[in-house]
């Protein structure tokens, strides 16, 4: 009988070794060498994670080069939800552009509107009345809680703790009810306007918000009870996705990721805006810069946000909720019946919009993901000449290849989960 090549006789690992590519020239992380001596994986396998994938938090495409189960290189490819918002804003009046800009970072819609309104108010040299500032702070902090809840809910879902999804969405519904009560929409409320907020809060709102802030810390303790002593959760998050503080500063990372490395940079404290200096709150920071610290920083930030909301409601001043400069803000409806000027102002504002003198301004705020900056160029007409948002997720995404290098795929997915990318902001 002739020598027949029987494929089933070949050991399985030999069969897998079809194409041998060059090694990347580095030593593998100890512990990930092949178990059998002399049987290294020479084969690097490039795989596409996304854009349609349960764990990518939107349409993020990750071109991953794997050696076995170890990630050697990651290239994020973005642009799958690029909507041309910045260019669309150039065609809209200033107050109409607020609705466009809100839809960039679609979990932190109040923050987008706030950055844009702050930039336009800088250009107009407009003062925001104190009641509007406090209301803005209250809404932004509730939005911060809602955003962190969603990040934790979907992050925990990726890591496997599915209960957190139900609980996070349950609390988030409470927060969205508050938004619905104050502005009529759950998401993408165009509540912030240039010069203040569009409408005063309805009578029962304060009471409902206080109920929310009373129940929220107890729920946070509930989440920690579920997750913080769970061996699987701790083992998956502690020590994975470590990034050092210097590297984070070099990469321009801000927000909970930077605070998890130990750097206490928070724009609410460092360069306060919209009367944040009146409130007393702490900035939670981590120690190691790993995924566990990011998780804890977010939980503690939610607790601090509850404190800020309580203080904002305690000290809510009376007064107008939008600037009384009729050239910028709509006059109240009852005035339209009596005053001719108010009618003319209303007409001009609605049809043409207010004009902004030429100039450029950059305004930055602290969104749940980091520094959210808005750059507005005005050319004297009623439409902005350029609107650019410096989105925090766009910059934070640059840290993903470094976080994920030489880690297992499961740790890499945990990194993406705790990085909290929002593709609407990344792609704009």
């Amino acid at each position: 009988m002739t020598e027949q090549f029987d494929p089933l006789e070949v050991p399985y690992r030999e069969r897998e070794r079809s194409v041998t590519m060059e090694r990347m020239g580095e030593q593998p992380v100890s512990g990930t060498e092949a178990l059998v001596e002399g049987d290294r994986h020479d084969e690097l396998f490039t795989i596409n994670i996304g854009p349609h994938h349960p764990a990518t938090h939107g349409v993020l495409r990750l071109l991953t080069t794997l050696e076995g189960e170890v990630v050697r290189d990651v290239k994020p490819i973005i642009g799958y939800v690029h909507t041309g918002i910045e260019k669309s804003c150039e065609d809209q009046q200033y107050w109409k552009a607020i609705t466009f800009v809100e839809r960039m970072d679609y979990l932190a819609y109040y923050f987008n509107a706030m950055a844009y309104c702050m930039a336009v108010e800088t250009l107009l040299d407009e003062d925001v009345p104190p009641r509007a500032q406090y209301l803005r702070v209250a809404h932004m902090e509730i939005n911060r809680i809602a955003s962190h809840l969603f990040a934790l809910a979907t992050g925990a879902l990726d890591i496997g703790a599915v209960t957190m999804l139900w609980w996070g969405c349950r609390e988030r519904d409470l927060a969205l009810d508050l938004f619905e009560m104050s502005s009529g929409q759950r998401i993408h409320t165009r509540y912030f306007q240039v010069g203040g907020v569009i409408e005063d809060i309805p009578p029962g709102w304060e009471k409902k918000v206080r109920e929310f802030t009373k129940v929220m810390p107890k729920r946070l303790d509930q989440y920690l009870d579920l997750l913080d002593r769970n061996e699987i959760w701790l083992r998956r998050l502690k020590g994975t996705g470590v990034i050092s503080q210097e590297r984070a500063l070099e990469l321009g990372i801000t927000g909970p990721l930077l605070r998890a490395t130990g750097h206490p940079w928070d724009l609410r404290k460092a360069m306060p805006y919209s009367s944040y200096e009146h409130f007393e709150f702490d900035v939670p920071i981590g120690v190691h810069g790993d995924n566990y610290d990011r998780f804890k920083v977010r939980i503690e930030e939610m607790r601090e946000s509850c404190r800020i909301i309580d203080q904002a409601l305690d000290g809510l001043p009376e007064g107008p909720w939008i600037t009384s400069n009729r050239k910028v803000a709509l006059p109240p409806r009852h005035e339209l019946a009596t005053s001719m000027e108010a009618l003319i102002h209303h007409f001009k504002l609605v049809t043409e919009g207010f004009r902004v003198p030429p100039g450029e301004a950059y305004a930055a705020i602290e969104s749940p993901r980091g520094e959210l900056g808005c750059f507005v160029v005005a050319d004297g007409s009623a439409k902005p000449a350029r609107v650019h948002m410096r989105d925090p997720s766009f910059v934070n995404l640059q840290s993903l290849p470094e976080m994920a290098k030489d880690s297992l795929i499961a740790d890499f997915i945990a990194c993406v989960a705790m990085l909290d990318p929002i593709l609407g902001g990344i792609d704009r």
């Binding site: 800088t122 000449a385 910059v395």
Partner: protein, 173 residues
């Protein structure tokens, strides 16, 4: 923000260390300070501002482009610098025409500029010399044109009203 005199002092120091023709102007408006530099001197100016200056600006927060049509020179690249120690911001701006849209990359000074420069290239067509990976980031790889320039059309579908609906053929025609 550095105030107007502080901005002038910074401009003076940059001129003495980098060169006279590097700084082409200063703008102080609404409390925001902008230092305007020549395109080819951007790398040296930012290196000086980051390391050499007595008040260093260590973090680059944003790098974005702008098209100032009909103002010439048309294209501009803005660098938004932040100093965390002094909680201060400075904007550095460089303007160039369409034909000479080349700027040295600052990725060796500020690694965060990677994606930002790719986005400016994608949207405005400004090529950053020395960037390791100069390709489109937001638009599809084979897209032609630079969308955020002012003379690029907005695109999209025309909105049909009764007066113009006869002019556009529908998909079932």
């Amino acid at each position: 923000m550095p105030d107007a005199t502080g901005l002038e002092l910074i401009a003076q120091r940059v001129r003495t260390s980098v060169g006279d023709e590097a700084v082409t102007g200063t703008i102080f408006q609404r409390g925001q300070a902008t230092l305007e530099v020549a395109p080819q001197a951007v790398h040296d100016v930012l290196a000086y501002l980051k390391q050499g200056d007595e008040e260093p600006w260590t973090a680059l927060m944003s790098l974005h482009g702008c098209d100032y049509l009909p103002d010439e020179p048309r294209l501009a690249v803005h660098y938004q610098l932040l100093s965390m120690e002094r909680t201060d911001r400075l904007n550095v701006r460089t303007r160039m025409g369409i034909g000479e849209a080349h700027v040295p990359t600052v990725i060796d000074l500020f690694p965060t500029a990677n994606y930002h420069e790719r986005e400016v290239f994608d949207m405005f067509g400004v090529v950053f010399d020395g960037h390791p990976d100069m390709r489109r980031i937001l638009m599809p790889e084979d897209y032609e044109g630079y969308p955020q320039r002012r003379d690029f059309p907005m695109g999209g579908e025309p909105v049909l009203y009764t007066f113009n609906e006869g002019k556009y053929p529908r998909w079932y025609d």
